[in-house]
Symmetry: C2
Subunit: 144 residues, 2 copies
């Protein structure tokens, strides 16, 4: 029997609306940020985020992200109690969205801290920055 994993109903065929139905909740992009930029991989690590996500919400969001093929869950060979969560190529392709959101907030609020670091700069070569980060993530997440 399916449990109370709230599946957001599709509102329209518009790409933005559909994207928001998939990752437009309060927590999904926070989880993806941690997978992308902090090296966190397990449930417990993800739960220890600065924003204090509730354990049931984390579980429901991970299930939803996995159902939408944005992340992939894989048993940890070193400890079979735990699973590790990896980004899929679809998940990695959210990098530009997250970088743009991060940059927008930093630009308009000086106390906001950015967490991505790179050799390339946003100002000089924005698309190069996306690609550099995505390449690193492909090496860390897809090759396993």
């Amino acid at each position: 029997m399916k449990k109370n994993i709230p599946v957001l109903a599709k509102r329209s065929d518009c790409a933005i609306s559909m994207a928001l139905d998939t990752v437009g909740d309060k927590w999904s992009l926070i989880i993806l940020r941690d997978l992308m930029f902090t090296g966190k991989r397990s449930y417990g690590e993800l739960q220890s985020c600065e924003e204090k996500i509730a354990t049931n919400i984390l579980a429901s969001r991970l299930t939803h992200l996995e159902e939408n093929k944005i992340i992939r869950k894989q048993l940890d060979p070193a400890d079979s109690r735990r699973s590790l969560y990896y980004l899929t190529e679809k998940g990695i392709q959210l990098v530009p969205v997250i970088i743009e959101l991060m940059h927008w907030m930093s630009k308009h609020n000086p106390e906001a801290s950015e967490c991505a670091s790179s050799a390339k700069s946003y100002e000089q070569d924005r698309v190069g920055l996306y690609e550099e980060i995505m390449e690193r993530l492909r090496a860390e997440h897809l090759a396993i």
Copy 2:
């Protein structure tokens, strides 16, 4: 007395988290999409979106977007019952976020429809596409 406009509490200083606290709800980017790509300006026009936003939610989101200086409300000189909503420069700078989100969904779900159109293509000159759209919006929204 302040009414029940739910102000999302700040969760952390992370730029992504703060951006989500500002525009990361279910409706804000839908409203901004309509201001950007459909020419809608009034309350009634915004309410007639395909996704059927509830009237109280629209009111609360418009107030929140205005408080955060993402949109600006201005009396319609032609009809003083109504106000018109315009993007600010800060709001216009969300164009890359929306374009990337739209493109991401379209790429991974063929039935998603994109609403932005431009002379430049996403594949050939992504940053040029952002700039073209932002320039058009500056002409429509800031010069008034």
